[in-house]
Symmetry: C2
Subunit: 113 residues, 2 copies
């Protein structure tokens, strides 16, 4: 059984709503394979989280590089917020160990989206 | 002389840093035409503000439409956060009266970006 409390310890964040934490790790393929589960997949949370990540990175770059133009900042942000880098960071903090996937997706070792 | 305090009253927000408020209304063309001004143009703030607007709208839609999928929410957000709608809202609250533009841009009546 996956212990999300281990993940909370690892990232040093305690979630008020553990169901939301679990939902954030639930891939659509897991729901398809387990139609009776009470879980929802994470795609709506992804919609929200992408916008949070965008603002966090934007605010960081805006403050860190006061001499950069809007165009330079936009290029820098695109380079930072891309799927490859995010998946590397996710791997570094061990997020893949907690993902709820279908068996097929898990065997593939790659999340297709 | 443009009174930004009128604008603050209109939108019922008092800015701590009035220079930032003024900068947010300063178009690049104004700086080009007035090279000795101490003002900076608003493009870096636009980079930051776009990400704030994106998150505000995203959070609003996420909460308001719990039954919508990520795809539906994304389409709805694109329809809301577009240049035409934003410029209409800006017109409704009289923002165009405060914009610092070059004389050429001001005569044209259109902001090109």
């Amino acid at each position: 059984m996956i212990q999300f409390s281990d993940f909370e310890k690892k990232i040093k964040v305690v979630f008020k709503d553990k169901d939301l934490l679990k939902q954030s790790f639930t891939h659509r393929s897991y729901i398809n394979e387990n139609p009776r589960t009470a879980l929802s997949h994470n795609e709506r949370l992804e919609f929200l989280g992408d916008a949070v990540l965008e603002l966090v990175v934007t605010n960081f770059l805006y403050k860190k590089y006061p001499q950069y133009t809007e165009g330079e900042l936009t290029s820098l942000r695109s380079a930072l917020v891309n799927a490859v880098i995010i998946s590397e960071v996710a791997g570094d903090i061990g997020m893949n160990d907690y993902l709820l996937l279908s068996k097929g997706e898990a065997r593939g070792g790659q999340i297709r989206g």
